[in-house]
């Protein structure tokens, strides 16, 4: 535990949160007021009185983001379904593969998608709208989608033909906050007036001011947007805008707005309620409820670009296919490129 605390301190320092010091005094005053009202709450508190959300949080789950259409508006699995699905997920984690099949893109032994249905036996992480699915695209969203380049036809002339995730630029938001095959962890570090949310997937750190300072000018755009936060009771609310639109999530644009609400329900559970909106893309906003559990150990650096041999290999495969085509040995296109990054 001691080493973990030291680790958090070290991370806070290395993240260079020098701006915090200047605001600490004001924060302490407001914290004093807050701590009196919060005294009855069971939520752990920081020394300066904020709810303590710090730690490394694991959000693995086999509950899909979107509900299977077969289930309609049914929010919860039956016990039998839970048993079967979790049993299968457990066997997949612990036992030999039940099948070796195309599309299992990473070594089974090396993936870490979890084995449990989200708390309460939820059939989807999306809790709103009631069908548990991302709302329909607007007419503009559909038109935009139909104009988008189809990466299935990419000739992979260069790395620019590949997506931001493969290029290790960013996993982006909200992707980095949603469960995937591995790296399903975030770390939260707090200081008076600031919270830092570190995403394991491509190790992004968002330094979120909580001191009421104004947003960045709307002309200042960023890959993971500009996050501003505040407390509503014991809930940390983080609103993120100013996306640069270069990392579209299912067609989203620069109009993407994320509202995260982190609530520490008790010692062993953090709940993230994430609302995603982009009025030109989806007909209405949608909300995800993602439970998280504390996990031991440090959040290790995922230095994605360190040895991104996959990119080299993808381009090599494409060049070899072209060479073979020139020699009349094979079709020019290297074959169906099953690119499913943007999820």
């Amino acid at each position: 535990m001691r080493s973990r605390v030291l680790g958090l301190v070290a991370i806070t320092l290395t993240l260079g949160l020098t701006g915090i010091v200047g605001t600490a005094q004001t924060q302490t005053q407001t914290a004093a007021v807050r701590s009196t009202t919060a005294a009855k709450s069971k939520v752990p508190r920081t020394p300066w009185g904020d709810p303590d959300l710090q730690g490394t949080w694991d959000y693995r789950t086999i509950t899909p983001l979107e509900r299977n259409r077969e289930l309609g508006t049914r929010e919860f699995y039956t016990e039998e379904e839970e048993k079967t699905l979790e049993g299968r997920a457990g066997r997949r984690m612990d036992g030999p593969p039940e099948e070796i099949r195309p599309g299992l893109t990473h070594a089974q032994y090396a993936t870490d998608p979890g084995r449990f249905i989200a708390d309460g036996n939820r059939t989807s992480l999306i809790v709103d709208p009631p069908d548990g699915r991302i709302p329909a695209l607007t007419a503009e969203g559909k038109a935009r989608q139909s104009r988008a380049p189809n990466r299935n036809n990419a000739v992979n002339a260069s790395w620019l033909d590949r997506g931001n995730q493969e290029r290790c630029i960013t996993y982006g938001l909200p992707s980095a906050s949603l469960p995937t095959l591995y790296n399903n962890n975030i770390q939260i570090v707090q200081a008076p007036g600031t919270a830092v949310i570190i995403h394991e997937m491509i190790h992004e750190a968002r330094v979120v001011p909580l001191d009421g300072r104004p947003r960045l000018n709307e002309n200042v755009r960023a890959w993971i947007g500009d996050s501003r936060g505040w407390w509503e009771g014991d809930t940390l609310v983080v609103e993120t805008t100013n996306f640069n639109g270069k990392n579209s999530y299912r067609g989203s644009t620069t109009g993407l707005r994320l509202t995260e609400r982190y609530t520490r329900v008790d010692e062993g559970r953090l709940e993230l309620r994430l609302t995603v909106s982009d009025p030109t893309t989806w007909e209405k906003p949608w909300t995800v409820l993602l439970p998280m559990r504390p996990t031991e150990g440090e959040l290790l650096e995922y230095a994605c670009h360190e040895a991104n041999l996959s990119m080299v290999n993808i381009l090599e495969v494409a060049r070899d296919a072209e060479k073979a085509a020139a020699e009349g040995k094979a079709p020019r296109n290297p074959g169906p490129v099953d690119d499913r990054q943007e999820r």
Binding site: H106, A107, A110, F116, R162, Y171, D320, P336
Partner: protein, 138 residues
């Protein structure tokens, strides 16, 4: 077959697919699902690098020659979390790896399963690996 069972099977398939969809790198741009390979060989070294580890494997061919293969594995932090570290797969270890070969026929593969000497499958069974307890208590 009753409707409940049909729904359940649909869910199983849907969950299988959804988990396979969430990969960091495209499988199909790099590897060939129609070229499954089973490689039995000796570990030369393992590169503990991001975003994916690579195992270098010397595979003896039927004619006695040796071919060095590179097998793509998981990300280091995931491996560590699952109880696998630099000592887990030392040089000289005989392993069998099942996976898919690179699309251009290079001696590279995406590893799907690994079998250690004595038939033990790597990571198979989280007890005894030293891995931290996974997931929430049910």
């Amino acid at each position: 077959m009753d409707r409940a069972r049909v729904v359940l099977i649909t869910l199983i398939v849907a969950l299988s697919v959804s988990s396979s969809l969430r990969a960091h790198h495209s499988f199909a741009a790099e590897f060939d699902a129609n070229q499954p390979v089973t490689l039995k060989g000796t570990v030369v070294k393992m590169d503990w690098v991001n975003p994916h580890t690579w195992i270098h494997l010397d595979v003896k061919n039927p004619d006695g020659t040796v071919t060095r293969w590179m097998i793509e594995g998981g990300t280091p932090n995931t491996l560590v979390r699952r109880g696998f570290n630099k000592r887990s797969l030392e040089a000289g270890t005989e392993v069998t790896i099942e996976g898919y070969r690179a699309k251009n026929g290079a001696n590279r593969a995406n590893g799907a399963d690994m079998i250690l000497p004595g038939g033990k499958r790597l990571f198979m069974g989280s007890s005894g690996t030293g891995a931290p307890k996974e997931g929430p208590e049910k």
